[in-house]
Symmetry: C2
């Protein structure tokens, strides 16, 4: 094996991306854990919280996360057991169900987010001057656009929500 292959600038580039990513992920995970959340759970909470009515159909949730539909079923099981979210019947399609954030889930997210933002600032965005950061993000965006197929996978058929009942489950 020719050692020089591993000094290839392309390998180095990937190494940087991987290490930056995994390093940041570890920081995030540690902070999530302080609030009793796993990375997946945090992702699920944010995806739901930013969706109309704080809810999403199981399939759409799967499409927006790193999980398969069966994976979503199981995460939702756990989170429903912990009262972070709940399932709701979909009025227009009896096959579907919504996963909806509970008040507890929203509170948990609220208490987790500030620290999360602080960590991003501290270890990522704050590490670079504005111009350098912009350049980094620009590069990432172009790679992302090339490589990430589901950048625009929105939920369809947002069911009408009774605001008063929201998170009431």
């Amino acid at each position: 094996m020719d050692q020089s292959v591993f000094d290839d600038p392309r390998i180095t580039a990937v190494g940087l991306l991987v290490e930056a990513y995994t390093g940041l992920s570890a920081r995030f995970a540690a902070q999530f854990e302080e609030h009793g959340l796993s990375p997946v759970e945090f992702e699920v909470l944010t995806r739901l919280a930013r969706s109309p009515g704080n809810q999403l159909r199981m399939t759409d949730l799967a499409a927006q996360t790193s999980l398969s539909t069966s994976g979503v079923t199981r995460v939702v099981d756990r989170m429903e057991r912990d009262d972070l979210l709940c399932r709701r019947a979909c009025p227009s399609d009896r096959r579907s169900s919504y996963a909806a954030v509970t008040a507890t889930g929203l509170a948990r997210l609220d208490e987790t987010l500030p620290g999360h933002l602080r960590i991003i600032e501290e270890w990522f965005t704050g590490q670079l001057e504005p111009a350098a950061l912009a350049a980094l993000l620009d590069g990432l965006r172009r790679v992302r656009d090339a490589v990430y197929p589901g950048a625009t996978a929105g939920s369809t058929d947002p069911a009408p929500i009774d605001e008063a009942d929201e998170a009431g489950c």
Copy 2:
């Protein structure tokens, strides 16, 4: 939940990093699979192949990968079964064993690497003009340096290798 939180530029920045990373990872994984390798197996092979004597002690291998020591034990089990590498006794410390790439393993790596480099080029480095790429890598490096603790975890006590016996197992 205030929707505007999710438009925070810090959240967006992380999103870009995550999506670029996972998108690229998926491309890599698909190509590895064409050659019968999982991402971890590819990582193990490269780490070993770039080490003196094409081998590394189990612990050092764990330190250089995303795996725990028990995780390494199990990957090495599988890869030894598939004849991609083999265990060797460490002459100077009877507790240790080396994982050493076999000829089969080296061949597999050789057949996988060109395509891997091509994919990096196609979806990552080739997406940007040289200056933009340099800026991206520079940013990544600074984040990596801040956030990735084990950037310099080398193996200790590289055992003397009989070159003739190498990969003979």
